[in-house]
Subunit: 265 residues, 6 copies
């Protein structure tokens, strides 16, 4: 049972709200395949660099990947696992209706608070939303963008160490703006791409009946797909509402339409 | 009699105004053809997903279709039929003269109110108007756009479930802005396209005399057209003002001019 | 005598200022040809639709035509002839120096007032000026544009009926902005195009001496022109200032220069 | 003696400042050639139309011509000669540092004041400066532009008559903006183009000694030039500062450099 | 000794600060060649026109030239030499951090003060900086630009005379904006272009030892260069810091790198 | 031991914060090769020009180079070594969340403070960040840009001398804006490009074990790379976290990926 596991795991640091953590990892971090472990390992290495290296009191990492690939959940996981006494997750949802200036003040406050703890972790989730990016124009808040770029590089005061985790589904944008260069490291999160990733996920979620899972496995084995973990979980949720005989077909239709499930070649 | 039926149906939820509901469904939801049922069924499925699935406390659906195809009436219908205790319809008419900031505050308030009920439905009607979209430029309020995008994806607090229904007649715009990706589902509403759709509508509306309807049926049978239900009802309203001998010809002229009524081929 | 006739006609509705009406129809609505009657008839039909049809409590009509073709006078005429208890003519002259926000508030107020009467008519004159349209850029107030688009489509509250008349000399602009689609009907006002239109006008205006009118008739008969009624009246005003022998030649020169009077072919 | 003549002429109307009038016609209106008379005659005709025609209580005229051709002086002359009890000259110099909104309020006030007198004349000098036009961009105040366009066409209240005179050295700009169409008439002011225009001016100004004027006449006779009256007067002012033997050569050099004085062909 | 000479010269007019004058002419106006005298003579002629001509109470001159060619020092010199009782030098340094509106108010105040004296001189230094010109965009303050254009042409009140001196290193920009036409005269300041200009300067500055000057003269004689007086003085300042044997080579290297010193051809 | 050396060196001038200095030179200025000495020498020469030359009370130098090449540390070093009684380092980190106007006020204050000391040094770090430069658009604060350009050239009051040091990793941008011309001198900081630069750095940092350094030397000798000193130090910090057997391989991988380490040719 995931929720139980989660509750045991969480030792909420100063600055983080339990409620937020539950929201950001609603369905946990399922080990659907190798890439999940790779991402968690990279996070671990950087956590240690912050803790141990005298030369680099600031380490910043950018987590990128497609919409719904699990960036927010992974960043939350890494941040929690660091065990740093200060942890703050900053996401666009809490800043709706803030003016550009108010957003900057808020971000500045988050970092100022972090500088007060000897070991801190700040997660800046969904950077392109935080900067109000709209490809039409394009438009975005340059004020917030600049504040972020400066804060990402700003060295903490003497004796303070900081890990910054940023997430974005638009790496190209961050590159063009010169924001990518503000991070010292980078983690890429892939989508699920193999039938086995999907079947593992269904099992871990305990979704459908064992018989249904068997028939799904048979139908998709050997085919490739491209779907974020978040979308996959939504499809499961929808398919489960259909009448019992329609659950598997509905799930497959959704997989074909939205997850680019390919014909066996 | 539609108005009577409507009055029986409505069990106004907390947050919705009876008066608004009458305005948004002035002429009810007539079953002019198959597509109407399909749209209502899809809505039903999503209502159940919100109510039942633990994995997805938030379901958001975008209803698109041509100007006047009946989006607002259908969204209102689905929302009412959910029977969720909280229902709020947010439409541009009530926000005329609001500043961008005030609009954002209002939208934030709507969602905050929704988060307080265990089961809520929020309808955001006419998204392109809410964001002040003008193809010249193009111009639009990026502030409101960003607020909507964040609110559409924002997970409700623990133990709260929410159905968001958005409507727009400009799907391309929403795609370009990346707003389409903020919805987890999509319902497309077509125009009336066959002669039978039109004759069914006239009957359901009890428009013209039975003799007039017969002659219209004869004149358009086997021809195709392309007209939204809202425009069709307006044409009927205009044609009925002409002198008795001119009512049918006037209606046909309007159908030909504005509904792209085609020659029998 | 026009002014006398006007005074008898006017039964100023609540909301309309007598003074404005005189200004907007300074020279009345002269029946210079068939198109004038056609436009007035269309107006009449829509007035009846508002009054009688239960399905369409809101009818909105866009009157378009070249600069000076008589749009404002015709809209005023139709509005007055409706006899609706509430009549408000909203024109750019009264909004000079208003901020965008103040303009929106004013427009909102006009419609809110209209919604209080059971039968109302609102004239929005010179839409491109109201929205501060300038082809260089182009520039315009999107805020006012959006307010108008929403107000033009906003259904009145239960038991209220409303006729909206908009005028513009830039139909293409309104089409591009998607504002044209906000109107349910459309009336186009042509310029005077035949010699007979001009001579009829001169007679109705009682301009020049009968002898002068005869000689003008002789000189232009069989030729075509393209002139708005407003410009024609201005030319008459100018020509009448010349010395007696120069009045007819001056008038013809002006007609040739500004009204595109063509050679007899 | 010009200044004496001027003093006799001026019967300052309500609203006009004597001081301004002196500044705007520093060197009077010299009759350097036929075009000056033509412009003054056209002005006269329009003054009469305002005074006499019942059909057109508002006449507006646009005076255009190259920078320094004498637009401001001519507009002032026509306005003074009208003898209308209200006269107001509105020029950019008095609005330096005004915000866009303050400019609009000022312009509105000028017209509102004019509407209070039965016969009024308002001069709007240097329209492109009033609207802050800059060809780079281009940039300009659309707010002031729109206020002017509306005020130029706004009919005075019943029993009031108004002559509006606008000046601009950028007719193309006004055409592009649709402002040209807001005027009912147009006067074009040419530059001095013949040697005789120049020699007449020198005589009327009593500039140089008679001998110097003779030698200038000999040297330029039969040649063409293109110079505004304002620039010509400036050149005279400069040449008169040179040592006596250099006065004529200096003047000719300036004429050649800045007035495009051509070789005798 | 320059500083001594300067102190004798200055008879600070009302409005000018001694300190400013020292800063603007730190190294005086050295007569490094013919162009310096020509520029000062042109200034003199215009000073007299203001003082003497009744026809032109306002004379405005634009001084242009490359960055560092000595515009500011020359404008200050001409202004001081006029001996006009009112003298005000307006330069960007004193307006850092002013809003656009505050800049306009300041400029308006400068001219209003000037209008109070019978003979005034106003220097507007570095126009492109005053208007915040940035070639990227391009961006600039149109508000300040327009205020300057109007003030440059605004005739002083009766009995007042005014000399306006503007400086700019971007003549093309001023032409494009139509600001060049606002000036009645123009003075162009060239760079030093001949070896002799440079050696004269070194002597006048008493820079290097006589022996060093000799060797420099020998090394550059017959070669051409292109350097502003300000840059030349800076190079001297740098070269003088090198060890004694390196002073001449360092100076030559700088001349070659930055002053485009050419090979003897 | 670097930190000890640093502590001895620092004689914090008025205006500078010790804490800042430690942050800006966290890892000191290591003599990794010839270019470091060249840059420090150039700085020295300019410090002397300020101190000694009467002709040039203001010297301004622009330090440019790739992101992470050590600009900030070098500027801090030169500024500290000047020993000028007033020293102020102005960097974007302290201005996060400031409005454009507030930034200008702050910068103005910094220079005004500097003008109060007889010998001052002002460091303006990371100019492109200070002006909020974003290549998308491009966007930047023209207000801050203009303030900087004016302040960089503004002569200090009599008897005051000032050294301005600016840093930027975008020399092209500064050139395009005309800001480069506001500096009287220029220092370029290169990246480490030879294997020996890297091995010298590792030794100076006392990074890895002597054995590890040997094996690194062997593996990279004769190859070229391109890496800023800041990035190199970060790579060392990361590699040192790996398990002992993985430290050297990890370091080489990072060098290959991010420092463009080339194959021996
Ligand atoms: N291995 C996993 N990695 C990430 N998330 C997982 C994993 N397994 C399950 N999840 C669940 O999948 C969902 C991932 O959603 P999340 O919001 O993190 O995606 P995202 O990439 O941030 O989406 P968006 O691009 O919309 O911001 C969460 O509910 C999370 O609990
Ligand atoms: N099957 C139906 N579906 C939708 N609307 C219907 C249907 N039958 C009748 N109607 C009536 O048709 C009208 C549809 O108008 P509605 O405002 O919903 O269209 P819309 O697509 O939202 O228009 P717009 O694009 O202008 O916002 C309403 O009056 C509604 O009562
Ligand atoms: N048949 C007619 N139709 C319209 N106006 C007429 C007619 N006969 C006379 N007129 C007079 O002609 C003038 C028409 O001017 P009006 O302001 O209505 O034109 P407009 O098209 O609105 O001009 P603009 O494009 O400048 O707004 C009025 O003075 C009106 O009294
Ligand atoms: N015939 C004339 N017409 C106009 N101005 C004349 C004439 N004769 C002499 N003048 C004098 O010439 C000058 C004309 O300057 P004015 O300011 O009117 O030109 P302008 O065209 O308005 O210039 P600008 O384009 O700069 O606004 C005035 O001093 C006026 O007294
Ligand atoms: N003949 C001269 N003309 C001008 N300046 C001279 C001359 N001789 C010496 N100087 C000195 O040279 C310097 C010229 O600098 P100035 O600031 O006037 O140049 P500028 O062209 O205004 O520069 P910028 O384009 O940067 O504004 C001053 O210090 C001045 O005293
Ligand atoms: N020779 C050196 N030159 C410069 N910095 C050095 C040198 N040796 C060691 N360092 C250290 O390297 C780091 C250089 O970082 P610094 O912030 O100065 O780079 P930067 O070029 O300003 O980076 P950015 O482009 O991000 O502003 C500092 O920690 C500094 O102490
Ligand atoms: Mg996310
Ligand atoms: Mg709708
Ligand atoms: Mg009109
Ligand atoms: Mg003028
Ligand atoms: Mg200068
Ligand atoms: Mg730096």
């Amino acid at each position: 049972d995931f929720m139980a596991g989660l509750e045991n795991d969480i030792k909420p640091a100063y600055g983080a709200k339990e409620e937020d953590i539950e929201r950001f990892m609603r369905n946990g971090v399922l080990m659907w395949g190798r890439p999940v472990q790779t991402a968690l390992d990279s996070g671990d290495l950087l956590v240690n660099q912050v803790r141990n290296s005298n030369k680099t009191p600031l380490v910043s990492v950018l987590i990128t990947g497609a919409v719904g690939c699990g960036k927010t959940a992974l960043a939350t996981r890494i941040a929690l696992d660091s065990g740093f006494p200060f942890l703050k997750i900053c996401s666009p949802g809490e800043l709706v209706g803030f003016s550009e200036a108010a957003k900057c003040q808020h971000l500045k406050k988050v970092f100022d608070d972090a500088y007060k703890s000897q070991l801190s972790c700040v997660v800046i989730d969904d950077i392109e939303k935080l900067i109000d990016y709209n490809p039409i124009g394009p438009r975005f808040s340059n004020t917030v963008t600049q504040a972020l770029m400066v804060l990402f590089k700003n060295l903490p005061p003497p004796k303070r160490r900081l890990l910054v985790i940023g997430t974005s589904s638009n790496k190209d944008l961050l590159h063009e703006m010169g924001m990518e260069k503000c991070f010292s490291s980078h983690i890429h999160v892939p989508c699920l791409s193999k039938a086995q990733h999907i079947t593992t996920t269904l099992e871990l979620l305990d979704a459908f009946t064992p018989e249904e899972r068997c028939s799904i496995e048979r139908l998709i084995s050997g085919r490739s797909a491209w779907v974020g973990i978040k979308s996959l979980i939504h499809m499961v949720g929808t398919a489960e509402q259909a009448e019992s005989t329609m659950r598997v077909p509905t799930f497959l239709t959704l997989l074909e339409e939205e997850a680019q499930l390919q014909e066996r070649s």
